[in-house]
């Protein structure tokens, strides 16, 4: 029973923490709430009218939602790059970053699930997907695999930090025997979620642009660049807005991970481009459409030609120690990389898969305002969830939230 008392007290305390803060904090949360409300309004229109309010058609049947979903799975998987060194290799430098990384994974996964639900034609019958009461097409459909791995990863990333924080909240050390097996599992699981998501596309013989053995590995490389890049940016923000101590050393180590992953990603990009353009077949038409446009249709050109230079320049700058170790330059590079990979793994991957269509028809896709509204709403939801998680976690780690502390105060009265 004692545990429930502590849990209740933790919930009350964290509610107290997340509702208090500086003016800036309140403005931030207020803006996020507003954007979420706008997103919900847009979604209500979509529920009423159907997916016809989006820019998707029978020719390009997945768009902005699935693009963001794919990218965010990568962000979620990236937490592993911090978890592994900290919990498994016992590299203490990362300890401060890992809780943040796992919080980011939780937020990213919640966004992934929200994007998938937003993309569904019939959200009211989604119970058909619940194993047991629905009919699951396992193991045939990669989508069922994805449902399992994403929810499993969400569970792991909630339970491990929760256990650690719950112990710290009571002023106790977390037991390694409890969380290390979970951390080891999460390392494999993270690779799993991203590989499975890649297989979702890779397994379709109908879409030559995706039906490509490099897709899975490239997903991993780009994820391990974009995810930790986002973690660096978040850590930088947390450093300047809270007393949470994150040493330069930690950030520089994560920067190393970003750099290596970005380099591998670039090599794979070159390999992909070589295959598509050195000896082009009709399977290369999607790549042609993406990079050069096809038959006068070129909606994606500005996107991809923003992404490629950002990607290349950021990777080159990061490669040099002198630049990488300059935090200001590092932050700019991380931002560039994040944007570049968001475009490449989002729009640049999903949309050309449908263009040209199975019979060569080229119909372009442009998201509508409603689609963009829902998307922004879901991103705001992610930021909101992350802020709440991070604020509570930081409070506990800094010792501001303590179960005993409260009791002793009560004792004095």
């Amino acid at each position: 029973m004692g545990r429930f008392k502590v849990l209740k007290s933790l919930v009350v305390d964290s509610l107290d923490t997340i509702t208090k803060g500086s003016i800036k904090y309140h403005i931030w949360m207020g803006v996020l709430t507003l954007v979420m409300l706008i997103g919900m309004y847009c979604y209500s229109i979509q529920l009423e009218e159907g997916l016809s309010v989006t820019g998707m058609t029978d020719r390009v049947s997945w768009g902005l939602y699935i693009s963001n979903f794919t990218f965010l799975v990568g962000v979620a998987a990236a937490a592993v790059m911090l978890v592994m060194p900290t919990y498994v290799l016992k590299d203490v430098d990362f300890k401060q970053a890992v809780l943040i990384g796992e919080g980011l994974a939780v937020a990213a996964l919640i966004m992934c699930l929200a994007f998938v639900v937003a993309d569904m034609g019939g959200p009211s019958v989604l119970w058909h997907m619940i194993p047991g009461i629905g009919v699951f097409n396992f193991p045939n459909s990669m989508l069922t695999w994805d449902v399992i791995v994403l929810n499993g990863y969400l569970f792991i990333n909630i339970s491990i930090p929760f256990y650690i924080l719950f112990r710290h909240y009571q002023g106790k050390e977390a037991k390694k025997s409890v969380y290390v097996p979970g951390a080891v599992l999460s390392v494999f699981w993270a690779v799993g979620i991203h590989l499975v998501t890649a297989f979702l596309y890779q397994g379709l013989q109908a879409r030559p642009f995706w039906n490509n053995a490099l897709l899975g590995p490239r997903f991993l490389a780009s994820a391990f660049a974009a995810g930790p890049a986002l973690i660096i940016l978040v850590l930088a923000i947390i450093r300047s807005f809270s007393a949470f101590n994150i040493p330069d050393k930690t950030i520089k180590k994560i920067a190393m991970i970003v750099t290596v992953a970005a380099q591998i990603n670039l090599i794979m990009l070159i390999s992909e481009l070589f295959k598509e353009f050195y000896a082009p077949t009709h399977h290369s038409e999607s790549a042609y459409y993406l990079f050069f446009g096809l038959h006068g249709k070129n909606a994606l050109l500005p996107w991809i030609w923003t992404a490629i230079p950002l990607n290349v320049i950021a990777t080159i700058i990061l490669t040099f120690n002198r630049f990488r170790n300059n935090l200001k330059v590092l932050y700019v590079c991380c931002f560039m990389l994040f944007v570049a990979i968001w475009i490449e793994k989002g729009f640049g991957l999903i949309v050309p898969g449908f263009i040209p269509g199975p019979y060569g028809k080229i119909v372009e896709y442009l998201p509508t305002g409603i689609e963009i509204g829902v998307t922004l709403g879901i991103w705001a939801l992610g930021a909101f969830v992350f802020t709440i998680l991070a604020k509570t976690a930081i409070g506990i780690e800094l010792g501001e939230l303590r179960y005993k502390k409260k009791e002793t105060i009560e004792d004095r009265h």
Partner: protein, 303 residues
């Protein structure tokens, strides 16, 4: 307790509650409204058609027919015929006969109650230049001029009812499957609208209801099959079923019947005396994208 009984109990208790609320809150709540509410509940929580017993199939088509009557005051006839034994449907298309008149397309739209607003069509007729072979990227599948045009030939595509259909593999909830007579069908009520099957189809055979499909009441084809031309909702997939409501009664699909040139041949592949067998045995036939290993049951040939 299995899923079915669990749902039945859950539904029953919810119904009592919902019924009590609707009668107490509204003096206008008629028996019809209550019945409609009950039908909607049971429809919302029914199982996958593929796994239903014949009795359950009958129950759901009875509910759907009654629901249509309650909504529109008109009656429809809906069946749930299962595949006949020793039947495997196949289709052949004569590219030297097709003149691009598109009668098949309009017959299909009418027969299968497709959405008139989005002008959904299962069949696409591609107009191609003679002597260039199948250049789909240069073909026109959306023409409005007089046909046939000199120096062109026409070919139709639709769902090919593959023997190894990629769309069935990828569906996360088994809302689409291959029936014993080879028809690839969709349970419109079980589909969650993820459109994964659409991405997996190499033949552009699937259509999605991006908004609520609408057919003027006077144009509704009232001879329906659960897996075929019954009314669809928004947010679900649909596709050509070789007119399951006709083919399982021994008739030709609407497109075959409507074709003025006789370019379309349909029949039972297991019947050695069928025309389709004669075509396959005596003509030079080929299929599209055979390298993908989907084994379409749809052949092209020429005279």
């Amino acid at each position: 307790m299995d899923r079915r009984t669990a749902f039945k109990k859950l539904t029953a208790s919810l119904l009592i509650g919902a019924g009590a609320i609707s009668t107490s809150c509204s003096t206008l709540a008629s028996d019809d409204a209550k019945e409609k509410a009950q039908i909607d509940w049971e429809e919302q929580f029914k199982g996958n058609y593929k796994l239903m017993s014949d009795e359950e199939k009958q129950d759901t088509i009875n509910r759907l027919m009654r629901s249509y009557e309650l909504r529109t005051g008109k009656t429809i006839s809906m069946t749930a015929e299962n595949p006949a034994e020793d039947v495997l449907f196949g289709y052949a298309f004569n590219i030297s006969k097709c003149q691009g008149y598109m009668d098949c397309v309009s017959a299909c739209v009418k027969e299968n109650n497709q959405d008139r607003n989005s002008e959904m069509q299962y069949i696409r007729i591609h107009e191609m230049k003679d002597g260039e072979g199948f250049k789909f990227d240069k073909a026109d599948d959306n023409y409005y001029h007089e046909v046939p045009v000199e120096g062109h030939f026409y070919m139709g595509t639709q769902c090919f009812h593959c023997d190894n259909p990629p769309c069935v593999e990828v569906c996360p909830v088994q809302a689409t499957w291959k029936e014993d007579d080879g028809l690839v069908v969709v349970d419109y009520d079980w589909c969650v609208g993820c459109r994964y099957c659409m991405a997996a189809c190499p033949y552009d055979g699937r259509r999605f209801n991006w908004s609520k499909p609408e057919v003027p009441e006077s144009e509704v084809n009232k001879n329906q099959h659960y897996l075929g031309n019954r009314m669809r909702k928004k947010g679900v997939m649909e596709k050509c079923t070789f007119c399951v409501q006709r083919s399982r009664k021994g008739k030709n699909p609407a497109c075959v019947e409507a074709c003025p040139t006789g370019a379309r041949i349909f029949g039972n592949l297991l019947d050695p005396n069928s025309t389709i067998r004669w075509v396959l045995e005596n003509k030079k036939v080929f299929r599209l994208k055979e390298d993908l290993g989907t084994d379409p049951k749809f052949w092209y040939f020429m005279d």
